[in-house]
Symmetry: C2
Subunit: 516 residues, 2 copies
């Protein structure tokens, strides 16, 4: 396998799953010159004249869509750990004796451990998507036939739009749908909020199947997914487990350490004037990031100002800020709890966004650029401010990228992180896997000090004279090492088990087999 050193200094393969890839060239350096993927043209003459696309079972729908060996099959993750669709799809494929499928979910959750058997028996060749939990471990152990490809939410849209991934059949679970295929995630027992992560799939997949447990008379409105892209509608008893839609990462933290990080982050934003009338912010899915919103609220109330918009992942905290009038709009990529779902369904200022509007780097701009401050998590940060979100220091792939890479384009990016976890330093000489280049990461907030990226001289000026505990990133690393000792490096083999794509489709890093 040919390896190339990319602009992040990482050795990455020239080919992934036998297709050539482009190594990372630096932020904003790769300018594409091709054309968007062009899906096949279909005709109304080939679809039922009464608009009724109902097919009795998912199996029949897959057969009608021509399921066969080697196809690329996609699903979305709006049901999070309550998803009941993806596993069924591959149970059916197994039953039909179909092999070598590429699975292209918008994210994976622990419930998808069920699929490991199909990675083992050849039903699924490889997964392009977040390598979370058990599937990530399986991949890191070098057991997957093909290579994993990890992309951000925006990178996934970009890959579909640009034709890097051609989806043969997309299966879109929906809380409500009509016979024509119009669908949304708002109304019904399996309500999950917006269906933005399935947008690209609906637009570009060759065949699209909508699956619902709540068939409504035409028209199903709002049509987050437009029936004009849909081939079949399938009704089943249950498409998701509502209680599991709220995953662990959407609970606000109760840890005093993490609340401290959240408070320090908010104070930093106040001192530097990042919090100003009409500002915008996004907090990620982590417990600390969510808590930041609470502190932001207090500051805004005290200063008598409001935010023009907040990006969701929405939850009850963000919804209450909207309802209190502290925020004009929530621009929401995924609803993390049922308060978020209800708010999106009834509040016209709680707007569904998609990876196209928010994150697609191969568009004419995107919303991520317009956010004043974005608060995110990380598993590791290094002294060059490079950060990692997909592996831990033991080398195992255990997390997806989500919107994390895309959010790095906010005007200020802050990572509130503990200095160490389980006595393993989080601030290091070099991250295990680079997911985000240091030039886009502005501030590291830890319980023992705040490090500002030297590139951000404006922020450094603004904190002068404040009582904020400003330190250098090297100081943070030294403190971590003093307490925990120099961290042991993970043991890797040569085999590349997965690559990490940058937002423009280039390869920013590779993950290698973990040797125990």
């Amino acid at each position: 396998m040919t390896l190339i050193k990319n602009a992040a200094g990482r050795m990455v393969p020239a080919e992934v799953n036998e297709k050539p890839v482009i190594p990372f060239r630096g932020v904003g350096k790769y300018i594409p010159d091709g054309r968007r993927f062009a899906p096949r043209i279909y005709s109304c003459a080939s679809y039922p004249s009464d608009g009724n696309k109902l097919v009795p079972t998912l199996k029949e729908a897959l057969l009608k869509c021509g399921i066969r060996d080697g196809m690329t099959i996609s699903t979305h993750h709006h049901f999070r750990n309550g998803d009941l669709i993806a596993n069924q799809v591959f149970d059916i494929c197994k039953e039909l004796g179909i092999n070598d499928l590429v699975f292209f979910p918008s994210a994976l959750f622990p419930c998808h451990e069920h699929l490991i058997q199909y990675l083992e028996d050849g039903t699924i060749h490889h997964i392009e998507g977040s390598m979370n939990g058990p599937v990530g471990k399986f991949c890191s152990q070098g057991k997957m036939k093909g290579q994993g490809v990890l992309r951000s939410h925006g990178g996934r849209y970009q890959a579909i739009q640009d034709g890097e991934v051609e989806i043969d059949i997309a299966i879109i679970g929906a809380a409500a749908a009509d016979m024509f295929g119009n669908a949304n995630g708002l109304n019904g027992k399996s309500a999950s909020g917006g269906l933005g992560f399935a947008l690209a799939d609906s637009q570009y997949a060759d065949k699209v199947i909508v699956v619902t447990d709540n068939l409504v008379p035409f028209p199903c409105v709002p049509w987050q997914i437009q029936g004009n892209y849909v081939d079949c509608t399938v009704v089943m008893d249950k498409v998701g487990i509502p209680e599991q839609i709220v995953s662990g990462t959407t609970q606000i933290t109760k840890s005093p350490d993490r609340l401290l990080l959240a408070e320090m982050t908010a104070r930093f934003c106040e001192v530097t004037g990042i919090i100003h009338d009409g500002f915008s912010f996004q907090a990620g899915a982590g417990g600390t990031a969510l808590s930041v919103g609470i502190y932001f609220s207090e500051i805004m109330r005290r200063l008598g100002i409001k935010s023009r918009f907040a990006r969701g992942g929405s939850n009850k905290y963000l919804v209450s800020m909207l309802e209190e009038g502290l925020i004009d709009y929530i621009l929401d990529g995924q609803t993390f709890d049922l308060d978020g779902v209800k708010s999106m369904a009834r509040n016209p200022n709680h707007i569904m966004t998609s990876p196209f509007t928010s994150y697609n780097y191969h568009g004419k701009g995107n919303f991520a650029n317009l956010v004043d401050v974005c608060i995110l998590g990380a598993t590791e940060v290094d002294v060059n401010f490079n950060a990692n979100v997909v592996t831990h220091s033991d080398g195992y792939l255990l997390h997806g990228i989500g919107g994390w890479q895309n959010c790095l384009f906010a005007k200020t990016v802050i990572l509130p992180i503990p200095l160490f976890r389980d006595r393993i330093p989080v601030v290091l000489d070099e991250v295990t896997t680079i997911c985000g280049p240091g030039e886009l990461i502005d501030v590291i907030v830890t319980e023992r000090g705040i490090a500002i990226n030297p590139l951000r001289t404006d922020l450094i000026d603004k904190v002068k004279g404040s009582d904020l505990p400003i330190v250098s990133i090297e100081q943070l690393k030294d403190m971590a090492e003093k307490i925990c000792g120099k961290p042991a490096k993970a043991h890797f083999g040569e085999k590349i088990v997965a690559v990490i794509k940058w937002v423009d489709g280039t390869v920013i890093d590779a993950a290698r087999q973990v040797i125990v």
Copy 2:
């Protein structure tokens, strides 16, 4: 020029504007085997990092978008006769000395007579779009350099999607927009309602300019046009004349003859059971068609039933039906008056549709198919139920197709028309121009009798025993001729001045130069 006899029996050219075209093959007979048009891939790296795409003037925006000879320029018609954009665009092109442009509006209105000078002096080579009013007359006189191409609203979406027309620069006027280019037609002094007719332009044009007289802070919601497709935003004093948005065709008729037609149409729908609980309907933009809604309301109230959805063009009558609860949803392609605009802005059951959802024949179905009854106008109908909407019997192109062809796919299509106009018969042996094949037209309602297409044996059975004045189409023609005499044929030359496309992009008829 090679002429071919198409499946409608018309002689049509094999080439239009030097590009090959496909002759009409029959309804549902042409199945495309290509791929959608693939626009160029752009990168966020090439756009302002703060999302600010404001350009001071329309001229600078056109220059920034690389305006040059031979380009295809598009605009939309949501401002109807109050449009202030299209004329300015070509004033600028003239000033810049640019020639041979193709103008591709979604429709033309009398206010666009201003453009005739540019057709004369070579600034504009030809227009592909509705040949209304003065421009239509100009075209019919054989004075346009290129050939006109008339398409339905759905056909326009299809042509863009399929790459038959490649738009170089789309200019989209909007009542509200933000610096990023998100735009809608709902809020501001030039409110025009939905911007659905500009959707395809935004999705597929190489460059997109949004022009507004109401710049709002990001985010402009709802974003009927997504800023992610937009290159430049231009603010000007005034983009449209609100009073002119309501055109003549959107006033309810006061003519007793036309009210009779409307009443007869409604009675026909009641007798045949077309009006039933949960039914759907669409009335076109004509005065008679609009009046039908009033009679439908009375019938629904009397029977204690409601309609699941009505298709707009919306107006105050349809809005009052929605508010009264007689209709669950308005699915609205264009708001014909300010009551419609306001309702779309505030009523979540008044939904904007686009030519993609409603009319695109090269999708996986469309909404037009799902409508129970559609009431439309026509300039001529013949004894084979073929109908014409673009020319009068004098041969002049004076009307656009609008959504008319697309609506023919409703389950029942009724044309309430006078038997004659100005002593010229409307029911003829053969229409001057075929816009819709007779097999899709079910019922002709005239003041002297109702003719049912013999293909609709079900409707013929249902009216048996009723007091409806059922006659044959030949009887209608004979009555018209008895009163008006055999109509004189228009005098045409050999020169083909325009073609009429069918919903699938094939050529259903050609319009020839009128010899006076």
